[in-house]
Every structure is written in structure tokens, then in C-alpha cells.
Symmetry: D2
Subunit: 335 residues, 4 copies
Amino acid sequence: MKVKVGVNGYGTIGKRIADAVSLQEDMEIVGVTKTKPDFEAKNAVKKGYKLYAAIPDRVEVFEKAGLPVEGTIDDLLEKVDVIADCSPGKIGAENKPRYEKANVKAIFQGGEKAGTVEVSFSTLSNYDAARGKNYVRVVSCNTTGLTRLLYTIKEDFGIKKVRATMIRRVVDPKEDKKGLVNGIMPHPVSVPSHHGPDVQTVLDVNITTTAFKVPTTLMHLHALNIVPEKNVTADDVKGSLDKEPRIMLVSADDGFTSTAKVIEYARELRLRYDLYENVVWEDSIGMDDGEIYVTQAIHQESIVIPENIDVVRAMFDLASKEESMKITNRTLGIG
Amino acid sequence: MKVKVGVNGYGTIGKRIADAVSLQEDMEIVGVTKTKPDFEAKNAVKKGYKLYAAIPDRVEVFEKAGLPVEGTIDDLLEKVDVIADCSPGKIGAENKPRYEKANVKAIFQGGEKAGTVEVSFSTLSNYDAARGKNYVRVVSCNTTGLTRLLYTIKEDFGIKKVRATMIRRVVDPKEDKKGLVNGIMPHPVSVPSHHGPDVQTVLDVNITTTAFKVPTTLMHLHALNIVPEKNVTADDVKGSLDKEPRIMLVSADDGFTSTAKVIEYARELRLRYDLYENVVWEDSIGMDDGEIYVTQAIHQESIVIPENIDVVRAMFDLASKEESMKITNRTLGIG
Amino acid sequence: MKVKVGVNGYGTIGKRIADAVSLQEDMEIVGVTKTKPDFEAKNAVKKGYKLYAAIPDRVEVFEKAGLPVEGTIDDLLEKVDVIADCSPGKIGAENKPRYEKANVKAIFQGGEKAGTVEVSFSTLSNYDAARGKNYVRVVSCNTTGLTRLLYTIKEDFGIKKVRATMIRRVVDPKEDKKGLVNGIMPHPVSVPSHHGPDVQTVLDVNITTTAFKVPTTLMHLHALNIVPEKNVTADDVKGSLDKEPRIMLVSADDGFTSTAKVIEYARELRLRYDLYENVVWEDSIGMDDGEIYVTQAIHQESIVIPENIDVVRAMFDLASKEESMKITNRTLGIG
Amino acid sequence: MKVKVGVNGYGTIGKRIADAVSLQEDMEIVGVTKTKPDFEAKNAVKKGYKLYAAIPDRVEVFEKAGLPVEGTIDDLLEKVDVIADCSPGKIGAENKPRYEKANVKAIFQGGEKAGTVEVSFSTLSNYDAARGKNYVRVVSCNTTGLTRLLYTIKEDFGIKKVRATMIRRVVDPKEDKKGLVNGIMPHPVSVPSHHGPDVQTVLDVNITTTAFKVPTTLMHLHALNIVPEKNVTADDVKGSLDKEPRIMLVSADDGFTSTAKVIEYARELRLRYDLYENVVWEDSIGMDDGEIYVTQAIHQESIVIPENIDVVRAMFDLASKEESMKITNRTLGIG
């Protein structure tokens, strides 16, 4: 029997979850919601997803636009085992009572506060903590990217301290009203940023983060300083990262001189140029004063998708962490 | 018997031609050339394309990088019926003697001057002019976009005059050294720009163009004023454009508010978010003083690909214009 | 006796008006308003402007921030002969009843609708229409730029038709939340844009406009096609524009290859790199089919400042158009 | 008697040095060189600077353009005591033999290697090292910014270790051909970047740096982690930085939310919006694990100007460090 999954909010994250769930044998997509009948809604229908109105009284708006709607979010909730809430940040928390009332498990995204759920989740670091849970939050793109890399290093070498500077894409590529056209914005100005404590909801590590927005849409970039517990060499670190399929090593020698080149590569690889993997510059891995320096790029639109699949298996106790990762990686073409 | 095609320069245009040729039953890719063993070269090998060194004395560079090379461009020329020259602008002309010596037909791209070839080419307007020819130039992305739209309007309504303002993406998405970060650049400053005369190499029309570079990578945009010979309404124009499969109508009502949204749509549609079609804003088609106004966006990286396939059929007299377009459109998923 | 001027909204336009009024012998700044005590408010105080709270109940907010406040907008209105409303678009109309009640003349900016005022204003084209009036709107930056150039051409050669494509900076340089990071946005999608009719509120001319937003902050650019009534040469047009001090001719030969270079020049010229003049590329002036082509750049932050000074003289009947322009140009360093 | 100064290369740095020297009582500008007669050259003449051809055989080019030229760089060298070499990076080293032959002292900029000169220079940290020297290099914008801040902290609290992430503007605002339009570029990819060792040419401190280019033109930004020798509080650090006039504290509460806002402020302050001061976000100064975190922005075009003035006094033994800083600060309006 397959777990019946609904997606509330067929946007940047929601549409990717829908496609990824469709590739799993132990899950199926029952339906997706949209707030308006735009080209994304039409795409959903074209792909065969059943469409529901995210806002109950907008059913007519879809019908006027000639789009078949199966009902409202409440109708969808009656048919699913779990809902992936992909609403804009903070709206998820407002939706929670609706899910509780419908007696449906729910997955929230990183824009929600940790306090909204029973447990925050990142596959590598704490898969088991989500087993059997009803309300789980998959941490944000930046936190997922940090956690994967730090978990891997920590397992192999231990970590005393992490100092991370996040250089963030200011908006996603599809945005045409928000942004920062020319400038650099400390975000937040005060130190540390919220990313450090967010990592600590899923991984026990001493981390301090600062974050800055810059006028690009493609990827986030993390400049990391990691103080390991053991003595290590740059090659040790490369070896450690290289064995984790959700981390991809690239090299400037191969032409990967910027996130622009990384995305050019991704355009060949997957539809929507999705990069589920942390992209780590192999040549950036260096040691100085016994501390590790490493630079990685994170595709903010897609990096959390594998974790959103794994979390379903954890919440319904369908598989062990290793089994789930194996299936997710295989179906998504990771590694 | 299939036409044996080689690609000289597996870059932005070259890699797309290679993939498109691979989808045709009447053609096959014999090999592709690269100047250096970067991730693009590795991708070519991964896809099964035989790799040749574009610059003969660089064979060793590829071998040192662990990439299998079949030989040099000259070796490739011995095995093909036609070479698609996808070198950077002006280099194609330098390559021509090499092709002549090898007695191989050659397709050049829009970066070369019209004088380099026997005939310039754009499927809709002058397919037959290329029949049996040996050296043909597929006109540039902007010229292809203009020609498709103007040919369609001209066939239906006649054209007295065209005034076109081209707002150009300054560099392709993969570039990370060239550009214009904040500003608008008349290019050229003097009027008219070269695009008007370039259209006239393939279509008989009275056209004046101006062009400006702006800091974006995604698409070019054309703001067109067309004086038709017949009396027409906006609906007439919509109907005319709507029936041509290589022109796609989109609407701001569906959420297509900018080229950013158009590309977001394309990311769902095709690998590399290729858009072989002119993207015309349906809502932009308007009449004023008996003149047509219309806005279109052009995906500079992929719009010439259908024409590069058709031109092979014309040069080898494999099919009529209508037959070739039908096959090309079907295999590339156009229309 | 000097005309007592107040500025409601010491922002991008307001602060420039305050400084420009301060340079006039027949006017004086009585005070300026701000909504919050940020660095702009502190600058105002540092420059010696008396500060008033634009929103009456925020006086305390300023006091807490240690900024001396003279009172509220209503207190300011009691002391002035005319208020320059520099509120964000549409707010000006909401303020009008307040000005009427205080029996104070008011100047509105281009973000307000023409219907809000007795007359729309652009010095060159209709100075006299504002004489003695109480509520006048200085047209927007784009409209001011178009009107100056078209008035000059029309006076000398007559105009049958204008077709203008506006390539607009998406936000001002100081914005760090709004924008368009990568893309081109038709704005509006439908033709014609509102700029044409807006020009017609101050100049009798047959004009059709289209407009597009692009990711730059520095200047707008206008690509113009003008059909003159008389036969003219490019040199005639240059001569015509060259004699108007509020139009500055520049040349690519001198290094003016883009708006980035124009602003680099302006940084040498005036504080805030203000360019009160239309910047016309001399090399862009060309004739084709008897039609004039010309490209100009418009500094959106400062181009309306001379007109905001002239309008005071018109409303209080202090000087003829020629006299006012002479004084304004001299005090602002134009020509 | 005034020191006679020449500027070789009246560009971004050169024109600012010329203006700053003109404000000093103990120096004078004898002449400036240009390679071509563009608007910058015309501005130089308009300001009264005597113009010389940087490339001897181009005198005619200037004359044809109607610009009076006094001679060549060699003629200029005969008349000066010291030449400020403001050539593009690496060209300065090529010019050195010319200066030696003319027996003229020379100041080089940060684009040259430390090995080119007798000593590298940054006023606060090593003024005295340049006393009486003939060939001195003023370190680059990023290094100057780092050195000022680190010297100040080190003097007050000692420094065990510095980890700095530099987020760099990709090109200056005037550039319209180079750049990075959409992306983030590790530069260099390998750690550490050259900035750390460059700081060490003028300040004895343990520092590791990484650097990234982002698509903005306005300012560089530095995210700093500093391990002090003494126990300090955030207020101690604020107090330390606040007393150094070449460091300016700003606050997000005052509206300084990004480098875009900082530049908006600077546009009010000085022609060309020059910011000679390090701009430190007061709200960014925080302590974590006994380590200082602080964010500063650096105006790459102007921050080295005060140091270029001080270095003349050091090389000619005109004043002590304190005296020179006092004069330079007063004449440039710093503090």
C-alpha cells in the first residue's frame, strides 16, 4: 500500500516534491493545491496532477479560467495520509490546525519555526528522530546544505567549532518584483544569523553564522571554516565528502569557476536544472592553522527535495535511513 | 542513408545541434570538437559523442585530462558530409578553407558575415534558396526571431515598414567574466543597427532596427512596430501568429509578466530550458494608427536549433520545406 | 519678498527640490517633512532644514531618536505659500484636501494622476498654462524627458508622429528590497503605455509609447522614432537639440558607451551625480526613410528638479518662461 | 616649498589623487597623464590639470581631438618630485625603470606586487616605514580596509587570529564590458586568498582570507571574525573603532540596511560619492565564544586616497604620522 501524499502549494518546492513523490514506489500524489490559475496550475494539470483550490472560495476562479478543480484543500485532506505544506514562510503554521482537524500528518518546510513541529529533520543527521511522528519540519535549503556537510565531517573527524559565512541569492529566478539590484545586504545585520541555531535543531555542533544577500538568483554559497577534533589533511576531507552521494565535488580546473558554470552544468543534467547535491569545490578544500576551509554552493530550489522524500518514509516507518536514502538517491538520479 | 554531421565547437549552439541531430532519422552525429577538456567536453563523452580536438595540437591536453579523443578536426572532416561550424563569431570564416579543402559542406552561424557563404538561411522565409548549396549561414538568434514573425505577418497581410527596438541580454547565463553589471548600452550607438540589414539577407522587407544591451542573461526582447499593407485588427494578427508552430503565444494573465517567468515555464518544458519558439505576448498585440505593435522574447541559446536542422535537409535536398518543418517540429517537441 | 516653500516628503525628489529652492533668490525653504528619523532625516537637520513630522502622531518617534522636530505637516502648512508634495505615487492625491484646507498652493509630482490638478506642467512646452494656478502637477521623469526633446524638435521641424520605446531602470539606486534581478519586464504588457497620453497632458503631439523594465538602477533610456513635418537632416536635428541648455549632447567617441559611463561623468559634475539635462547621444541621431532616430538617457532622480523650480515662478507669476529658465539654469549649473 | 606631484594614469584612482593633492598646502599637482582623449581627459583639462600623453607616441591623438597636451610622461617626469603611478595592475612594475631613469620617487598602487617596491604602506600601521623611501606601494582597497580595522583592534586588545570573508564588487560602476551578471565566483577558488598575505606586508597579524566576487559595483563587504588577546565586550570594540576618524560607524536603525543605502548617504556627502572611511555596521559588532564578529563595507574607488596623501609626507619626511593624518583628514573632510 502506497502512502497517499498531497501537496499544499504547488510552487517552487511543491512542484518538485510532487514530481519526486511520483517517482517513488511506496508513495503516490493524490493532489496538489494552487491559489490561482496561472501557468504553473496549467502545468500541474498537464502533468496529470489533480488540482485543488488552496483557498476554498477560489474554486470559481479556476473554473472561469477553464481549469478543472477537484475541490478545495479540505477535500484533498480527506484523501491523503500526509500533506506536504509548501506554503510561503509562516503560512504553514497557520495551516496546521486544518491538518490536525483532518487528522492528517504534515510535513512543513524551513520557512516555519521549529516550534511549530514535533521535530526538525535532515536525513543524514537525524532520520530516526522523525520515525512515527505526525508533524515534522524539513529544515531550509541553507540549513540542509550546512547539515549534510557538517554531519559528514563530524562523523569522520569530530567538530569543535564551525564559522560559516552565507552569501545568499537574493530571490529565486522566477521573481520579477522583489530583489536587490545593485548592492550587498547583511541579513541580518547582527551576528549570529538564524542559520546557526537552525542547524542545531538537527545537528549537535558549535556553529556561528553570518549571512549576506547579493544580487543573484542561481545559488547560495557558503564559505566555511571548520575546526575538527582530529588532525586532518585536505585529502582526508576530500575523501570524506567524496563518499557521500548527496555531496558533489567539482573543480575549477574542469571549468567550474562560478555558480553560473555550475548551473550551466546542471542544465545538462536534470529538468529545471535541479541540483539535489551540495556542490563543493574540491580545490577550495584547504587547511590553515589546523582548520578546514571549504566552499560549497547550494541550489536553493531543489536541495531539500531528497529530504522531503525521506521524511515520508521516516514518518510512516517505511524504511531505515540507509534504505530510504538508497531509494531516494536512485529514483532522483543522485550519486 | 543518413547524412553524416559533425559539429565544430561543442558549445552553446554546438551541443544543442548535436542533440537535435541525434533525434533525426535522416541524420547522425559523427563527432564533435572541443578546444579544451572541461566539463562540457566530459558531458559530450558521457552522452556518447565522439570527441575531436578543435585545435590539432591540443590532442595531448585532452589525453592528459583522461578524455578519449578520436583525432583532430581534420580527422573528423574526413568522416562527415557536412560540418556545423559553431565557432565563436568570425572564426567560422577562418575555418572555411579547411572545409573547402576537405570537400565538406558547411553550415555557419549568425556570427559570420553573409559574404562568407552562398546564401543566408531562415527556414520559413527562404528554405528553397539553400537547396543543394555547399556553404550556408543560419542567421543569428535575433534575426531568426525577427524573420519568423515578420514572414508570418507579411504572408498574411503584407508589410510596408518595420521599426524594431531590440533589448538584448548582455551575455549568456554561463558567462562569468564578461558583462554589463549596472547600466544600459546602446549597441551600436548609431542607427540603424546591423539587425535590419541582416533580416534583409533572408526576407525582403523594409526594416529599421535599434539595439540595446541590458544586464540580464535569459532572453532578448523585441519591441516591434509593423505597418501592414492590409487593414488588420489585433485579432487578425493573433490568429496569424497563432497558426505558426514556431511562434508561442503567452499571456500576462497566465502569469507571464517578464522573461523571468517565461524561463520558469521553460524549465518545466525542456532540458536546458530551451525555447525553440518565438515567445509572443498575446496581450501586447495592439493596433495604433493602423500600425501593429507586438512584443516578443527570444531565447538566444536555442532559437536557431530548428533552423540548423532544416538547413541540412535543404542542403542535401532531403525534403521540402513543409516536410522538413514537420519532422523538425515533431522531433523537437515544437507546437 | 520670497515665496515660502515647504517640502512634504524629503526623499529622492524632495531633498533635491529643497536644495534647488535654497539656491533661488526669490524662494526659500521653510521646512521639510519626513515619516521616520533615518539618515535622510538626520542629513536634513545637518543641512539646516527645519524638520516636521509628515505623519502627525510620529513626532515622538523623532524626539526619541534625538532629532529636533518643529511640528507636524499641519504646522508647516501654516507657514508656507506653497507645498511641494513629494509623497510616493497616489499619496499626493490623498494629501490634497489637507492643502486645500490650509489654503496653500501645491505642486504634485508625476506619480499623481493628471485629474488631481488644474494643469500638468513641463516648462518648455506649457509654462504659461500654470501661471497663477493653485494645483499643478510636474510630469514624471520619463514624460519630462520626452517632452523637452519633442517640444524642441516640434518647434523647429513640426512632428507628425512619435514612436517611443522606453527602457526603464527598474528601481532607484537606494532600493534594496524591490527589483528585478535577472529578466526584462514589459510594463505594461499592453500597448500603448501610459507615457504617451501623459506627454499629451503637456504637449500636443501624436505619440505611441511602449515601456520595459530592466535590471539597472542608474538611468532610463528612450529609443525614439520621430516623423517630422519638414524635411530635415541629422545635422539639423543635432543643431536643434544643441541649442537647448536642458539637453546635453554626448558622444560614444568621447567614451560615453553606456549609461554607466554617463553616470561616471556625472559623478564629477554634481553632488549626488544629478543630471538635470536630457542626455542625448549625438552619434545616435540618424535619418532613415525621412524619419528621425535618436537615443536619450534620463536621470530619473533629478531631471524634474528644474521644472519644479520653474513651476513655482509660474504659479506665483514671478517671471516669464524665458526669465525663469535663465535663472533656474544659472543657479543649477545647467548649460 | 611644495612637493611636486605627477599622476601617471588619470583614471579611477588617479583623478581622486589629483584632487586630493590639490587640497594640500604642502603639495601641488604638476600634471596628469591619459592614454586617450576621452571625457575623463576633457574633465582633467576643465579642472586645470596639465595633460600629458601616458604613451609618448599618442600626443597627436590628443591634438586631433582638440585637447592641449603639454608633452609625454617623460616630459612630466622631468618636472616632478614624485609620481603617483595609477596604471592598471602590473603595468606599474613595467613603468618603474622609467621612473628610476628620471630619478623620481614613485608611489605604486595595490595592483602591483610587494616585491616591486622598498616597502608596502598603510598609514595607521606602518607610516614610519616609508619615511625617506623612494619606491613605496600603497596597499589595495581591500587590504587598506582590513588593515585600518585590524590595526585599531590590535592596538587596543591584541589579536590572536583573524578569519575574513571578502564579498567583492565584481567591477567598478563605470565598467560596461567586464563583469559577472548573475552568479557568485570564488576568487580565488583555493584558500587562502592573496588578501591575507597582503595585509601581512603592512601589519603583523595572523590572518586567513577567502574572497568571492558578486554582481554589484558599489562596495566591497568584509565579514570578519577576530580572536582578540584580551577579554573584550562588543561595547569595547565599538568604542575602539569609534575613536578612529577613518572608520565610520553606521546603524541599520538609521536606515543603513545595505551597501545601496550607504552609497545613497555618500551621495549627499561628497562629490563622486567618495567614502574615504571604512564603513562599519555598529549593529554587526558582536561577541560569540569570546570572538569578535564585525561587518564592514569598503568603497573600493576612494578608500586608498588618504593613504596616498600620507605616503607623500612620509616619503619626503614632511610630517609625523599623527600630523599627516590630521592634515589629510581635515582637508578631505574625514571625521
